[in-house]
Amino acid sequence: MATAAQQAAARGPVIELAGVHKWYGQFHVLRDINLSVATGERIVICGPSGSGKSTMIRCINRLEEHQKGRITVQGIELTNDLKQIDAIRREVGMVFQQFNLFPHLTVMENLTLAPIWVRKMPKKDAEAIAMKYLQRVRIPEQANKYPGQLSGGQQQRVAIARALCMNPKVMLFDEPTSALDPEMIKEVLDVMIELAKDGMTMLCVTHEMGFARTVANRVIFMDKGEIVEQNVPEEFFNHPKSERTKLFLSQILHN
């Protein structure tokens, strides 16, 4: 284990954001973001709505463009070069709040599409991998259904499996449980916890503080486009330093 960690450290961080700024028109959404994510790290990002947390992780795979600063993923810098962007997107999986499954394709087709067309994998291999991940998210029997026939929790698990089929080095989660009915949140979180146990590097925007406590190595609090505070979960929750963090925690933990 130690050697693996050393190797990881020697390779440098998986993701590095240095002095990243972003504006929507005049509105300054991200202010001087500096963040370094090591291999195997599990980071939970929280903060009030409009704080820029989703925007930040969406910058990592270029769904949003940053206007100042540097973002590197696996040593590849994000520029306007489409080849670099595609190279990064192949290594970074993403799970969305609204699942965003492709409704005209079956679950199996949703899972095999990118491996076949982006990784140029033979269909048989792609289907074998897809089946493996469907088993991991515990819905192999749904392979030939269409997304519209599944519950929200099942759809989100398919979305996670779809991202995993590309064998990503990092997984980004953008409020993965926010659009779910309460009774379905656990089944999705369980899958994410398992993924974390397997050593996946994860960045997760979520308000599930229980998840943050059990899984995260680091919790980041953002407000008004800045990273206000970051710490290991225990310290973060028990001894928050900034007033803004205290206020936020009191609000969400009381609700």
Binding site: L63, R89, N100, H104, L113, W117, Y146, G148, R162
Partner: protein, 366 residues
């Protein structure tokens, strides 16, 4: 569940008053006073209109090869006119002895259309099949090879002309319209401006004026001695016109696709073409099948406008058949006959569109 319950199922059936033909009639025809009134009015209209129409069309009509004088004695339609002139109507001035060629060509075209309706065949090779099919169509019609006597396009006419204008119109205009719709939504300003200008300009003028321009003005600008085939010019005008209309329909479909679909495709690393081809367009086009087919049906009938630039399509061929002084009195029969032909094609398109909607919806229930 016990054995008893399993072997003697107690199925309670609805009372007879709500099932069967009486139940149906009560629910659908006489459910309210207003509904009853409408039912009676409709029935009266049918009784008033249908028997005379059938008398004229069938029972009092004159069938078979007879002289026009016989027809003038009868009360009903003179189908003898069609029996006399159907070859002129269907094939125009195409050399009489060679008319087996347009018959084959039309059969080939219809066979290819029917073949292409099957979704299992929607593969890349279908494009090649169409290339080959259209080449065979051209060879049959033009001749000049394989011992077939050459027939210039100005002698083509009737159904094959109408069909080829419509089919090539669809086959070329559809991909063009997709390109235009994507162009109009492009981030590249030049591509976008060109698409907007093209769509607005072409959509803003009547098809007739495009046909006139293609037929009479274009030759003025060409160097002397250079000629472009009249059929080709009309075909290009139809394609340009249809593409502009379809582009807006396709754009409507594109607008119905949520942003998340683009983001999910991008996040998986799909390139622009892959994203459009595999994710966005299948959903967008599915959403606008009814207006697309609507445009196709409109275009199919608009091919009759080529008559004004002297192409002998189904309509102009019929006019020429009517111009025979012996049969001039029977123009209604001529128009009813081609209306029937147009109807068969348009109704088939409409039915196919409904079938397609149904099967595609069964695939992707939201």
């Amino acid at each position: 569940m016990t054995m008893e319950e399993a072997t003697t199922p107690q199925v309670e059936r609805p009372p007879a008053s709500v099932t069967g033909p009486w139940g149906w009639a009560r629910a659908n025809l006489f459910s309210t006073p207003w509904n009853t009134f409408l039912t009676l009015v409709s029935a009266a209209v049918l009784v008033w209109a249908v028997p005379p129409a059938l008398d004229w069309l069938i029972f009092n009509a004159v069938w078979g090869h007879v002289k026009p004088e016989v027809c003038k004695q009868a009360d009903g339609a003179c189908w003898a006119f069609i029996a006399e002139k159907y070859r002129l109507i269907l094939f125009g001035r195409y050399p009489f002895k060679e008319q087996w060629r347009p018959v084959l060509a039309v059969c080939l075209l219809i066979a290819m259309i029917v073949f292409s309706c099957n979704r299992r065949f929607w593969r890349v090779w279908l494009g090649a099949v169409w290339m080959a099919g259209l080449a065979v169509f051209g060879t049959l019609m033009w001749g000049g090879v394989l011992g077939l006597s050459p027939v210039e396009t100005n002698l083509w006419g009737g159904l094959p002309l109408t069909l080829i204008l419509a089919v090539v119109g669809v086959v070329v205009a559809f991909p063009l319209s997709i390109a235009l719709a994507l162009g109009r939504r492009s981030r590249m300003p030049i591509v976008r401006s060109f698409s907007v200008a093209y769509i607005e300009l072409i959509r803003g003028v009547p098809l007739i004026s495009l046909l006139f321009m293609a037929s009479f003005m274009l030759p003025l600008f060409l160097p002397t001695g250079m000629k472009i085939n009249a059929l080709l010019r009309a075909q290009v005008a139809i394609i340009m016109f249809t593409a502009a209309y379809l582009a807006e329909v396709v754009r409507g479909g594109l607008q119905a696709i949520p942003k998340g679909q683009y983001e999910a495709a991008q996040a998986l690393g799909l390139g622009y073409m892959q994203m459009m081809w595999k994710i966005i367009l299948p959903q967008a086009i599915r959403a606008v099948i009814p207006p697309i087919v609507n445009t196709f049906i409109g275009m199919f009938k608009d091919t009759s406008l080529v008559a004004i630039v002297s192409l002998t399509d189904l309509l102009l061929a019929t006019k020429q058949a009517i111009s025979d002084p012996n049969w001039r009195a029977f123009f209604v029969e001529g128009y009813v006959f081609i209306a029937f032909i147009y109807f068969i094609f348009c109704f088939s398109m409409s039915k196919y569109s409904q079938h397609l909607e149904k099967t595609l919806r069964a695939g992707a229930r939201r």
